[in-house]
């Protein structure tokens, strides 16, 4: 019997490592993995020693005993009138849309008894296709943020809406010569129309759009290339060879799931015919993004050097005549360039070169030119509307600040955004704002800008106000509210209507009037809402425009809107060459600092969002903070180690930040995520991390060259989750598996051969799982990008608590699905791979055998149930779990939740108390809901795909498939039949129901050597 001495294959394949400590096998790392619950996890919070807690507990037991004699009275409050379609306790789903930095995703929002509880993508919306990004899903928590702005403030003092309205009416705006508007990127058609009216009424007024992460470089690049106002439209599904020049299209460059949907459509290898459609991704970037992690080949270059690379690529492809390929690059760079050129030429129309909004316009122009010369079909252009006196971007903001400082601005209306925080430090926006006589700020939080403006008014969340949003391709959605404004906020359109003195001041009327006027058969000027009951039916059938409006609101797509047609444009190589000639060359030497939007808090607007603060960064796994990411070689050269606080200085700008080594980072380049170091923010986000805007300047908006770096002698603790789940001795086992597609075609057994599974004999009675539904899951590592959408979906669906930085440092984070990230290769040039890890629902579950109270048991359908009300908290199960996916509630993490915050909870899942173990249940509440519905519906069978777990539902890459493995026709069964399907730690005879499909890589053989 080989029960004890289980052999695993010697690590013949690539070695996977998670941190530099692991790679170097430092003593700290050994100590970490040997502990089950790291760092004093069984101690209570500081200030409460065990003894005191026991004393307090004894006292409260005594009190509880007395109090329990009376049964508390609980009331049922039925509605007095009753509403149509409302069934108490049942969920209702509404279509709406979110616009994040001008990027639109159509949504379906689940509500329970009038409160939104879960955000999912709208399958009918072209930019969502059912998926939603982590940030968009987490925006739900912002709705219930108890620290949101609650009242109108005049010079920081609470006042009323009527006082604000009176002040606005008393403003003498004249022809608008002193009137300026500052907003975030507008994506709302009704607001476009209102803006046009307002700018007509005030012919000297101007409007500036500014975002910390503005996306106007593409349009500026198009102006260079085509001399026409067009914007690019990319379809990644059409490209077989993609070159991403600094582009993080799978990460933060797009705030919609669309690029991931399109990219992953060529990574699903469902059958052998699919092998030919696999795409190949090259990434050239400074910081390690998830696009770089998903690339087949990655080249480290500083951000400012990308434009030279783009020019060389264009020249080498013959697209930019009269330019010589710069050959002073490193060997690796030249080889990389040559390989790309060859591959792009071979791919022809199936190729795509894409760059980032963080790159200057010339790089976009070069990319457009390259795509044109290759005949690429993956990028097309559409006419983009322009509006007079509306400017966007940091240059426009700089001009506005100039006017403000010169005293030319008497009234500044800020509709959303937090420019005092997000504006680059050299503009000194706050001091310019002080020179404006009347500054009005509409914003969701009492933030830095609210504190500096004369007036601050609360902004309504998009789930509590009417609006609309249009995608960059022209598909419009009505943004319909599900709840009244909790703190009485208003929308940008309402404030604009007030400023312009428009008679229509309610958001609903503004939006409805606008759309009704576009529908055929409308009665202009009609704003009254339709009666209910029989009258409504009569009125709707009589009015086709009303019908169209109702259908638009219901469907989540405005009826009649179609993607706009593409424009035929030709890039002019001469213009681009001329622009290139005047483009300043990248500064050589020194340290370059790059700014990137944070994957967790974006530009700071999610800083008070606990779900996002606690979602680990996809690559460096830092939670609750940011860091100055620096390559291991540069750290060594500058004698810096993790946690050292340094001062970065450039010109008169200065910031303090703590260093963290990031394998794969370009040398002599530091990357700092934006959005942290907020000074005026709610409880969760205040003073978390370091404010990179302090170093940002309008002339070096994304990449700041020649930054001085000086140590301060201080240190700071970064909290990461990167070594979580590692058990001693496990790291040599093939937990993550991948294979080159060329090898897989030759030898389909290549994955299976990576581990040696001995003959297995269970000492327990074998259970029979061949009847009824048998739930299982397959996770395709080939298409998973590691974007964190599943992590946030799970938190929202399963009421997972937020524990805070201090608790994460003690290993007490509660996420039911963990995104493991491994590096492969050297510390300078590693690849990175991502692996989502939920509970594996083992058939021979090791956790079940050790539970002394049978709180975790097996169901006949193969689920590993966790019964919170039975759990006594021995934690034996977590000790015995080889995957470390069980999490213990050390404290009552929901205790501090206010009534408002508690509204976010999903009523279909228990809110767990302290002292119990919890874990992924395969969303058993969804299984039961569907089962009951199927039974009520004539006792039919549950269809394949009818039940979707929360992580599966939202996955932008469709990498997670759940279903009945007993049904040979189900998608999950078919996936599990593939040769690349493998069970993690199969040699332990635990028989996990969740299995992985090994990643199929598609490297270029020329670069592999």
């Amino acid at each position: 019997m080989s029960l004890v001495s289980i052999k695993t294959a010697a690590p013949t394949g690539p070695k996977y490592w998670r941190s530099l400590d692991e790679l170097a096998k430092t003593p700290q790392f050994r100590e970490f993995v040997e502990q089950e619950f790291p760092a004093h996890a069984d101690e209570m919070l500081e200030g409460n020693s065990r003894r005191t807690v026991l004393k307090l507990m004894a006292a409260s037991f005594g009190l509880a005993g007395l109090a329990a004699c009376r049964r508390p009275v609980e009331h049922i409050y039925p509605t007095a009138k009753g509403w149509d379609n409302y069934v108490p306790g049942e969920k209702l789903t509404y279509a709406t849309a979110v616009s994040l930095a001008g990027q639109v995703t159509g949504l379906l929002v689940e509500t329970h008894d009038g409160r939104p509880t879960k955000i999912e993508g709208n399958p009918d919306h072209p930019f969502s296709q059912g998926a939603a990004t982590a940030l968009v899903q987490a925006s739900l928590l912002n709705l219930y943020d108890p620290d949101r702005s609650k009242s109108v403030l005049e010079a920081g003092k609470e006042t009323s809406w009527s006082a604000f309205e009176a002040t606005v009416k008393s403003l003498s705006l004249g022809d608008g010569s002193g009137l300026r508007f500052l907003s975030e990127t507008v994506a709302s058609p009704s607001l476009f129309a209102l803006r046009a009216d307002v700018l007509k009424k005030f012919p000297k007024a101007k409007w500036v759009e500014y975002e910390a992460f503005q996306r106007n470089a593409g349009r500026a690049g198009a102006m260079i290339a085509f001399n026409e106002a067009v914007s690019p439209q990319t379809d990644f599904s059409k490209a077989k060879v993609i070159v991403a020049l600094d582009s993080d299209f799978l990460g933060q460059d797009w705030q919609t799931p669309l690029p991931t949907k399109q990219f992953s459509s060529r990574r699903h290898m469902d059958s052998e015919e699919d092998f030919d459609k696999i795409n190949r991704l090259y990434s050239v970037e400074s910081q390690f993004s998830i696009t770089g992690a998903n690339a087949d080949h990655r080249l480290r270059l500083r951000g400012s050097e990308i434009k030279q690379f783009a020019a060389d690529l264009a020249a080498a492809l013959g697209a930019l005549p009269g330019l010589n390929v710069l050959n002073n690059g490193t060997d690796r760079r030249s080889k990389f360039l040559a390989a790309i050129v060859k591959d792009l030429k071979a791919a022809g129309k199936d190729s795509l070169v894409i760059t980032s909004p963080r790159q200057p316009a010339i790089v976009h122009a070069l990319a457009f030119l390259i795509n044109q010369s290759l005949g690429s079909t993956a990028m097309e252009f559409a006419k983009s509307g322009t509006q007079e006196r509306v400017e966007a971007g940091v240059d426009a903001l700089k001009a506005l600040v100039g006017e403000m400082n010169a005293g030319q601005v008497s009234t500044l209306v800020m509709l959303g955004g937090n420019p005092v925080y997000t504006a680059p430090a050299d503009l000194a926006f706050a001091s310019a704002l002080a020179k404006v006589a009347a500054s009005l700020h509409l914003g969701p939080d009492e933030d830095e800008t609210a504190a500096s403006a004369k007036w601050h008014v609360p902004e309504a969340h998009y789930l509590e106000s009417w609006g609309d949003a249009v995608t960059s391709t022209g598909v419009a959605t009505i943004q319909q509210p599900m709840i009244d404004p909790i703190f009485g906020g208003r929308t940008a359109a309402e404030i604009l209507a007030l400023v312009s003195g428009s008679p229509t001041t309610k958001a609903h009327d503004i939006v409805k009037n606008y759309w009704m006027s576009t529908f055929p058969g409308s009665h202009p000027g009609e704003t009254k809402s339709v009666a209910s009951g029989k009258d409504a039916v009569k009125e709707i059938t009589a009015n086709p425009a009303e019908q169209a409006w109702r259908k638009s609101v219901h469907d989540g797509i405005v009826s009649g809107t179609k993607p706009q047609e593409t424009a035929k444009v030709t890039a002019d190589a001469k213009r681009i060459a001329a622009a290139w000639a005047t483009e300043p060359k990248a500064a050589e030497g020194g340290i370059e600092v790059a700014f990137v939007p944070s994957a967790s808090v974006f530009d700071g607007r999610f800083a008070n969002n606990g779900w996002m603060q606690e979602a680990p960064d996809p690559i460096n796994k830092v939670v609750w903070g940011n860091a100055a990411l620096i390559s291991p070689a540069t750290a060594k050269a500058k004698n810096l180690s993790d946690g050292d606080v340094v001062t970065l200085t450039r010109g008169g700008l200065k910031m303090e930040v703590s260093v963290l080594t990031q394998p794969g980072q370009a040398d002599n380049a530091i990357t700092i995520a934006l959005g942290y170091g907020r000074e005026r923010c709610g409880r969760a986000g205040k003073d978390v991390g370091f404010n990179a805007n302090l170093l940002r300047s309008s002339d070096a908006f994304w990449y700041a060259p020649n930054v001085e770096i000086a140590t301060t002698g201080k240190t700071y603790t970064h909290v990461t989750t990167q070594e979580r789940g590692l058990a001693d001795g496990m790291n040599n086992r093939p937990l993550y598996r991948e294979v080159d597609i060329a090898e897989y075609k030759k030898n389909p057994k290549a994955i299976e051969e990576q581990s040696e599974v001995p003959p297995l004999h269970s000492i327990y009675t074998e259970l029979n799982y061949d009847k009824g539904y048998q739930w299982g899951m397959a996770i395709d590592l080939g298409s998973c990008t590691g974007c964190n959408a599943c992590v946030v979906a799970c938190v929202a669906e399963n009421n997972t608590p937020v524990v805070g930085k201090d608790q994460v440092a003690r290993g007490r984070e509660m996420h039911w699905i963990r995104m493991d990230r491994y590096y492969v290769g050297s510390e300078d040039e590693p690849r990175a791979v991502e692996q989502p890890l939920p509970c594996m629902q083992c058939e021979n579950a090791p956790c079940e055998n050790v539970c002394p109270v049978a709180a975790t048991t097996h169901t006949p359908e193969g689920l590993n149930d966790m019964v919170y009300n039975r759990c006594v908290g021995t934690r034996y199960c977590a000790n015995n779990c080889p995957f470390k996916v069980r999490h213990f509630n050390f404290l009552n993490f929901h205790k501090g939740d206010s009534d408002i915050l508690s509204m976010v909870h999903n009523p279909d899942v228990t809110v767990r108390m302290r002292g119990v173990m919890e874990k992924c249940t395969y969303c058993v509440q969804r299984i039961q809901e569907t089962r009951i519905a199927a039974k009520a519906d004539g006792r039919r069978e549950i269809k394949d795909g009818e039940i979707k777990t929360a992580c599966q539902q939202t996955c932008p890459a469709d990498a997670i498939v759940f279903g009945n493995i007993n049904d040979p026709q189900s998608k999950v069964s078919k996936l599990k039949k593939q040769e690349r399907n493998y069970a993690m730690l199969a040699e332990l005879d635990i028989r996990p129901r969740t299995t992985y499909l090994a990643r199929l890589r598609n490297p270029n053989p020329e670069l592999e050597a």
Binding site: R71, V73, E74, H75, I76, Y77, P78, T79, A80, K81, G82, V87, P88, G89, E90, T857, H858, T859, P860, L863, D865, V867, Y868, N869, R870, D908, V909, T910, V911, T921, V924, Q925, Q928, I932, K935, A936, R939
Partner: protein
């Protein structure tokens, strides 16, 4: 050395020990017995804001349960009716009754009537009316003869053992769906035989695993 305690004190000690032991056993048994839901919860009969008689409405007048609790067949929660449902009749019947003043006030103001929740399950239990009623479990199985109660009280313990008894052996508690809300229904033959037929016909297979009810 003379004994400090007389010999008889041995007996006192033994008796005292036995009494303390018995007392402890009795206390534990009493606690276990009286803290059982059958003792604590059965008979819970709070005073409701409106003196509504189920006996009058459901029993004597013969209103179907489903008339007011209209979501039982399609939702987890058997909704308590909105005030409008009461006013369907009471705009015509007993329009001046002082006992209905709370109802009329609710209809006028739109404020909810604060009914007191009687049949309460712990928050970690997910009971679903839809599943049970469509399977053929009658209201009477869990709520008792509501049609005979002037003031509603809890009739069954509604603890886990109570649920499991039926989940393990549902046959005696099943009846044709159309008889589910007929609380006075008496089967014309062996109820188990009827139940077995329904089980076969509807493939009834109630869960006895944890996640059937706990999520």
């Amino acid at each position: 050395m003379a004994a400090i305690f007389p010999k008889s004190s041995d007996l006192i000690m033994k008796v005292a020990g036995a009494l303390i032991g018995l007392g402890a056993v009795a206390a534990i048994s009493a606690y276990a017995y009286y803290s059982y839901p059958a003792q604590i919860d059965v008979g819970y009969q709070p005073v409701q804001p409106v003196a509504y008689s189920h006996k009058l409405h459901a029993g004597d007048l013969g209103l179907d349960c489903y008339y007011c609790h209209s979501t039982v067949y399609k939702a987890a929660f058997a909704a308590v009716p909105s005030t409008n449902t009461c006013m369907n009749c009471h705009t015509k019947v007993k329009t001046d009754s002082p006992r209905l003043e709370v109802v009329r006030e609710s209809a006028r103001t739109g404020q909810a009537i604060p009914w007191v929740h009687i049949h309460r399950l712990p928050d970690y239990v997910y009971f679903n009316h839809e599943a049970h009623l469509n399977a053929g479990v009658s209201c009477v199985s869990c709520h008792g003869r509501i049609d005979q109660m002037v003031e509603v009280e809890q009739a069954k313990p509604l603890n886990m053992a109570f649920c499991l008894d039926c989940h393990r052996d549902p046959a005696p508690n099943l009846r044709p769906t159309e008889q589910v809300t007929k609380l006075a229904w008496v089967p014309d033959r062996d109820p188990r035989a009827i139940g077995e037929e329904i089980i076969a016909q509807k493939h009834i297979n109630p869960p006895v695993n944890c996640s059937g009810c706990h999520r």
